[in-house]
Symmetry: D3
Subunit: 237 residues, 6 copies
């Protein structure tokens, strides 16, 4: 029934290749089916101004998409002179989600910027960015720990995200573009390795939804995030 | 226990004054406690370009805040040259939420723009904007029906929104600023008059949350939205 | 003869409601007929950079208009990415006018920003902004005096403004939009409580004017400003 | 008493050199003492959109200043990404003033853009721009008349402008920068060849003014504009 | 003597992987040593406005760099709100160079946009973009030929580019970043498969250069471009 | 054969008038035929941030064109909100070229900004800007030397530039607009007074070129620059 032939609760194949950007403190290329995102972590030895003297660090994120990551070419945001509302919404979500998995006091007054650049898009780019962004963050933190810059690990738990939605009347896991553009309701679910919730974003696009339907999607999401966390574990070895 | 002395499941006083902007097709001033938002609906007799020939209309929203709506003055967005990510995120949410309560085919190829301008802020401005924006929209649609421009009502149901969160370890309804800035988890819930869900946005800010906690907040939200819908009904007579 | 039925030298009803914005150090809602402007004063305990060490303060103003303050909706300046030439011209005029009524040395090195946001427009928004802006400024200064932050009152005199023009061949006072859009010549007159001139801006729009006509308009303006000053006195009690 | 040694009612030397920009339909370099402005008129054979079908034309103006026209270098507006409020205010004034001397119906549906670029500044740049801009406009119109594109002259009268102010307690004509930066009150006066008023802009900068003082400045302005009109006549032969 | 241990006339290893972006009509990932650029070609079935009716097509290019492509993170151009002068200069060069290898009449009235996004930078990104951009362009054109949209091949010849410079007093081929940042003189040379010159850009950075030195660099460039053209041939099979 | 009737190796008449901008430390109006550029040098007693503590100075340049410098009016860059890619490319070239003729250590930690504003354009504006910009720079440096601010002359040699191209199959020197817009290949050549090369920029526009053709253009350029240097010497006396 799904355009891809997957079962309702099937994730797309996940692959996370680390160390793909030579200059970054941490990096990976995450592939969730045909959605491919390059994630890098850049460490800066100063915190944002508003944290001066607080003893706490900051994690922030930026998101972009290559103009031809999609089926028809999008205008380059650098050329149009501003980031779209969608881009800003996504990068705020990524930053917020990753901060929820970090003890900012243990970071010390430094900032880590996660850049998520979509090389190829087939639905779920914000979820892939969170999942891959966490790997880049973890690798950068491990480097700081190894170098003795950090003495205790500020990473509290895994953070990963997956989308679910109601497609053709059925609850499905890990929507690809063909499903996402048709789904009446969909949502993004960000969770920890322990299965706690960080962010739930559900939207009706054309059809409202019930609490029962919401519960069904949450069940799927829990199963999906568990698989993503396993892939993160494998990637960071 | 709450800074305002309210009970855990108490809403702030709601007041909706209609017809406050002489030029607009529909307008209201909504007050949720000390949060005051001016909402207007402007009808344009052409749809956006991408709907030409589709027979469908569009509802969109813009959001702003007077520089001194808040405790310390914020920079005027018109002067800084762009709308913040927060502003864009909010106005996208308002538009999406209101569209979920509208039969866009019954609108015909016209556009209604909802402007929500926060005069005074004390938490929950996006929820007040949705609830008040729906009243402005309804009044504009009624005017078009009365004038015979529309022959069937495109408004399918009420749309209203409320925030809930976990404050000092307790689930509380309708957060004010003092609570919102301290809450470890909070969420915005957009629902229809019939109690169906349109949008759920829950975020951990400092503390992750469980599905049980989420369910508790949803219970509160259902009760809160019911009161808002009653206030909408009273306002539109 | 006037569209509103007013006599040639009649002002529109003036109403000034103070304390309308809970967070601001001073605020009012001024209504000149159907022109309604929200004015707030925000005190900042540092002066602009170029005044550092001068012992002097600064008064500045910003002006905005809600998109649907007018008969047809205007594009939101925050969305278009810049303030129009008209907006900048008006806010420079408001700031300059209010500074003329202030002893900047008595202010000390602090800045007061007057925000004037037009809620509803029917001609004369810049004049209403000056007249209402002065009330917000005065209230903020009184608060600083009461708190002992200021020890002598930097407000030297009232500042108020009115427009006059030649409509259908007659000199008329306090133009509303219907008159303003037809007037061949019009002007804005900013004066002190003592009747001294601060700013005179007269423009021919379609028909040039003589010194005699200019004198006639100044006579009207003096009478109008006196009424505005009386309303300011009543408002600040 | 004046820094330049001029008498109170002395203008600076005026020189208007025409035909200085080979490509423009009309052009001149106007020198009012050490204030030098390059003015050009560009004819476009279409009117702005809002005049389509009206049978009327439009005159508009743009103003700029070379970065080192002044004593210390100013930031180039093209580099800073926007025109300052001052620039916009001035170019709106130039356009409005020149339109007051034109029968827009006799222009037909075309637009003439007057560019005024200050090469060297010593006070009074907006007045020099209006006076020189009129010459460029007149030359462009004459060219259209000679070519038979226009059959009747849309230029109704001369338009010229001068500044006056109260410097060291005295009314002085044609302020240079040394005077302008010290004057407690100053004004710009735009008039026709027949001595009718087009625009009066008087501002108190530090000291308010009386109607008697205003009358004194108007007397000076009338004498000054007469000399400028004579210089325009000589320039256009 | 070279930091990399290469001989003076050694190129870095070249690798061109095609078909790396699923949605693009043509794409490749070019690696010149540690400089990696993703190149895509997007076909649009309309030409730019200024070519309407000319029977000719257009090739244009856009260039970007991921924020962490370099040793320290660069600000994202989409976030800063504009493309730097360097970015614009490079993308104009890429477009101009590729157009020199195309018969724009044979293209018909369509546009092909080449996006070059630097994933990792180690000197020579603009040259790699031209060389890889040509491959993406060629693949897109081949697709149009295969589909019968084009009937004759508009690609006239290969286009490839290499940098050369004077490093530590010696002429060296294909500068990496360590060399580029120290070279007193360097240049970029764009040539055709037949060895004709398209663009020569030589700059003294600290030390001027002679015609003899320039000739030496041209000799190196010819040899380098020949190797790049061979790699292009291998890539497109 | 040339539209202007010049011989293949004829320069246009060169005129350099110095001291044309009263406020600038150095200035000139350079005329190369009908291309006229105003050049000024502004000295700032602080170096850019990245040179703090280095003991070195900086020379930078900005370039602009009056809207009606050309045959049809161009949009004012200050109004459009950004400098075009062409403008940025040109001003980067001017700055780089002039820096090649300066010992930045002998400048001390100060910055000199060269503004080049094209009053009238007929091809070769970037070359005229470099040649005239050098004169403005030299005059400013001489002033600093005379004032004892500088004790040794940081100007190492003359810097001048000329364009050459292949027009109607022939190598021609100093292209005017009529030639430039038709030439299949053209280039800009920046050289020192001693004949050393600073910058070579050659582009094929429609037709590629050979090394032999390039050599022919370099021969012409050397002769042209020698004449420009002679004009510079005459101008600075």
């Amino acid at each position: 029934m799904r355009p891809s032939g997957r079962n309702l609760s099937d994730m797309r194949p996940i692959s996370i290749e680390t160390g793909v950007m030579a200059h970054a403190e941490g990096s990976c290329l995450i592939r969730c089916g045909n959605t491919h995102v390059l994630c890098s972590a850049s460490v800066e030895e100063t915190a944002p101004r508003w944290l001066k003297g607080s003893g706490q660090g900051w994690v922030t994120a930026e998101y972009g998409m290559l103009p031809r990551a999609t089926n028809t070419r999008n205008r380059r945001e650098a050329a149009s002179g501003k980031q779209s509302g969608r881009t800003q919404e996504i990068q705020r979500l990524i930053g917020r989600s990753l901060r929820a998995g970090v003890d900012r006091r243990a970071m010390g007054e430094r900032q880590i910027t996660i850049d998520c650049d979509v090389i190829q898009a087939d639905g779920g780019t914000r979820c892939a960015s969170i999942t891959g962004g966490w790997v880049a963050l973890k690798l950068a933190v491990d480097k700081l720990l190894k170098a003795g810059v950090l003495t205790s690990d500020p990473i509290v738990d895994h953070v990963a995200a997956v989308s679910c939605g109601i497609y053709a009347g059925q609850n499905v896991l890990d929507l690809d573009y063909a499903e996402d553009s048709e789904a009446g309701t969909d949502g993004n679910f960000v969770m920890t390795g322990a299965g706690r919730l960080i962010e739930v974003q559900m939207s009706a696009e054309g059809a409202t939804f019930s609490r029962t339907e919401m519960d069904g999607l949450l069940d799927l999401a829990e199963a999906g995030v568990a698989q993503l966390v396993a892939a993160q574990k494998a990637a960071i070895g």
